[in-house]
Symmetry: D4
Subunit: 170 residues, 8 copies
């Protein structure tokens, strides 16, 4: 990733790494430069605020924010930037991410957070959504996305073939 | 809206109008050309598929999709376009939109839907999120968004003043 | 299964096999010919649409569709066929299948999906429900179903006997 | 309805009429003969059991059962007949039908209940699902269903036209 | 248990034994004669109905019924007897017993089921509640219950002592 | 009610009267003497404790306790008496009684509360359950309960007749 | 309120006034000086941050924060002050405050928010909890609180008297 | 802890120790003297009542109460003391603490319980909230809290550094 990051991936703790790296892997696969930052809405409010207010001037274009429990980080970041902010609710308590989902998605009118599914699927899709956004101004990226979607379709057919084998052994 | 639409607002029924017009009003306020379409994932699958596969070539850049109950429309549209799709879960059953929220947000890895809050706040924020996306390539739109956010802040101060009056009469 | 399939079992990924094979096992036990297909509402929308629109002409009579998370597959299939579609919500996220249940069962008026219990019990019952449908025109199948239900009753009595032994050792 | 009923619609109380008549109206529109019965799993267990054990011999082919709260009626009926039983969870308590949904859909393996959406949409879809089943052996009914689905699609287009008018006045 | 049973413990499957034996252990500890039966609301409706209608004449006085998923057994039994029926919702699905709880407790007016907590605590308390009922006419049983409650209180004090030791090592 | 009360109905506030009177009406219909008391677990803990510890000596035999929100009253009363305590969760907050249900039913092992449905149906059933308990030692009461249940069955048939009229006018 | 405020009541909008004034009324009744401020976590992040960082130096001692939907305000304030922060979840969406409750109470370790009940009861209790805190250093306030609690107990007895009248008329 | 305890930590069973010791560890780290007691709302109501009514006179200033299932302990204690009571809902059933959360937080107006997050995070935050309260009258404690918060912020930066290493290896 030699070039200037286009996407910032934020999380409240490095314990969120295992889930949020799904976003990183997709961005890497698509050769989209990104940065990854640990910052907390509650434990480091100044750090978070500083990041959010400066990130647009630093040239980033989309933010992906993972947070669990009473997940405030995405909303807090969205309040201090005009960039599109994508929220990934993480399962960090016994409530399996339902708390994080509601705390992320139910934003009051005025400050939007684009919320993805809870956990890994959400982290992966956050990156793919960032790519859809960035692709609006980048034909090469759109082409890579079209290839990716074709590969997904082929994969489904491969899985179907595997299923037929299993079925034969039933 | 004389110019070519940049945003498409989709809904499954015109009964969704009352909520989804919140998105239309914001886009109008920001002078972002848009179109609005009734199409159903279940009652008109071909119409929906045709819309989704052609919309990018027609020059639209962001889609906003409102749907209630077992809300499949946003996911179905996202499966057939590369444009960013923003989902607005609508409260259409006794479950108060919780069904629509889960049916919209819990997309499996591969096809993202950027989910907003249930109902009016979500419809309004969907438009604001579309504007954040479009603003990435449009400095004038970014300026309008900055103005909008400043007005929101001023409004909070006005509400605070109103509160002080009420408090004095307590 | 030498003869023409009467039931189609669909699922979004071969990872659903472990649960959906419960349906296959029941159909096999009842000697009802069936086919099993991996197809995704989101990753292979064309493949899914093609399957759904052609399946009736191919002579199948009932479809069983397993899907998890924002489970759209059953509804999408039901939108493009007139055959009875039975949905099996799968537990694919931390929400334990509640998301898939609501996304499957809360279909808006017009396009029905006959929803079964979440997971294995649902997959098994989907096959038994297909057999109830097919049995309407097949006295031999009805007889097999009556035998099956008698065996279930006998099994309960056997379990009762086992319980008495355990109780004696309490 | 001069001819022998093919569908039986059951409900626990005549207070369920307002919702369950949606099923009756659809069956009437499709000219499918049906009967409608009040019987309770808890207040009239013998009546319910007698109905369920005799209904197949009386020539009915599909049962639609509406029930609210701890909705046991559909399961109890399904336990005493081999006909396909379609359950409609009704919203009869402050829990908005979530209790009835879970009490209807989460049937253990062995006795299936094909569950529809909570309330009116579910009642309507129950009839349409019964028609899909009956249509398997009735080409004329299949034709009527195809017409019905075409009208639904046309209706969506009419709603779209209505939406464009509203939009023009925004 | 040489004497005639006063309490009947019912469950739908011997897989419920691990939880329901908590009830048996309490009754044994209190020397209350009981019987335990496997019978299913859905798989053996006649057996269940026969049991429920005859149990009062056989001299039993309280029934404890454990059931999971769409837990209908307690309600079905209560519909065919005048004895007090105590329901124990079991966790038999991914919904952790919430389905069984609602299917047991939300009985419509007319036929009551006295519902206990989900799982082991509920099974234990079902027996203690049966003992409270039987104790109304049995001073000796009331005395044993008073002793039991005193022992519970003493146990809390012992746990407090254990806590102080752990605290000292903190 | 000239004779000594056998049942005590407790509630935290007279605002619970509208729901809890359903229990009173049933007891009156069955000529079971009862008393009704307002006492609060939180606002009058001593009053509640005094009532619970003395009620058995005063000759009452069953307690019915209605409470909403964080409904502690039934559990607190059950902790200080050996009488059977029946809890009625009331809908007193926006959560529609789900909070009261869980706070009443999820009692830990040792102190049982026999929980009924949320609201009116629960209040009515609490009285019917008290009658089942009292009926164990009172053949006359059992006879009245059998009559009541017969009347319920007759009422279902009357409702069925009413339904047939409505159906004829469809 | 001539003297320096000891409690600050914050809310995101003056539409929260109707609920949050319950807190104001209690503080007024107890003669605790307070101030009330509209500020939003999302629309005026700087204003909120400024308030929270300066409030301790201005001499306030407890903060009460009402917020609905994805309720971030209490957590955000607690992150920037060392004063005790009491959160009141408000019902501002169709989810009846469940979203606000989880977004307020599920704070990760490090920054506590003392959460009260959803809505009016919570607003009232927030003030009473602030009074318990302030009472630790203020014997006069403790005395007023003891009086208040005595009055609550007397009120329960008055309600009991009212109940007896209603009961007589049943 | 040689000095007189300022905080009392209560729990219903020593099985709650593993979670509640998080509170003890924080208080120890801040050198706040505390005591820890096992007492149950249901199994030892007198013991609980005695503790709650005497604790203020014994000089304690804040109570932390952990309880699971139908968690009544915090409310019951708060009803018999004027000290601030902090409730920690524990996950003790399959409902993952949701039952305990609602039973703790939804206190009716009059008796507040300051509710923390479910489980460990809640226990830790309960201690930090007690420290915020005690800090109001203790500048040294406030200083320690400021240091603690600074260390939390530094820790976030350390985690960020760790993240950068992981990212480099992706």
């Amino acid at each position: 990733m030699g070039t200037r990051p286009q996407v910032g991936i934020l999380m409240g703790s490095d314990s969120d790494w295992e889930v949020m790296k799904e976003a990183a892997l997709v961005l890497k696969e698509f050769a989209v430069p990104f940065e990854m930052v640990v910052t907390s809405a509650h434990r480091t409010p100044e750090r978070t605020h500083a990041y959010a207010t400066e990130v647009e001037d630093r040239g980033l274009r989309v933010l992906i924010v993972g947070a669990g429990a009473a997940a405030h980080l995405a909303g807090v970041v969205a309040a201090s930037t005009q960039l599109p902010v994508i929220g990934v609710p993480l399962s960090a308590t016994g409530l399996q991410g339902l708390d994080a989902l509601l705390a992320t998605v139910q934003m009051p009118g005025g400050i939007p957070v684009a919320t993805m599914a809870i956990g890994r699927a959400g982290a992966k899709n956050a990156a793919l959504f960032a790519i859809r956004i960035l692709g609006l101004g980048d034909p090469e990226l759109r082409k890579r996305l079209a290839d990716y979607r074709r590969r997904m379709a082929v994969e489904v057919e491969a899985k179907d073939a595997a299923l037929q084998s299993r079925l034969a052994e039933l």
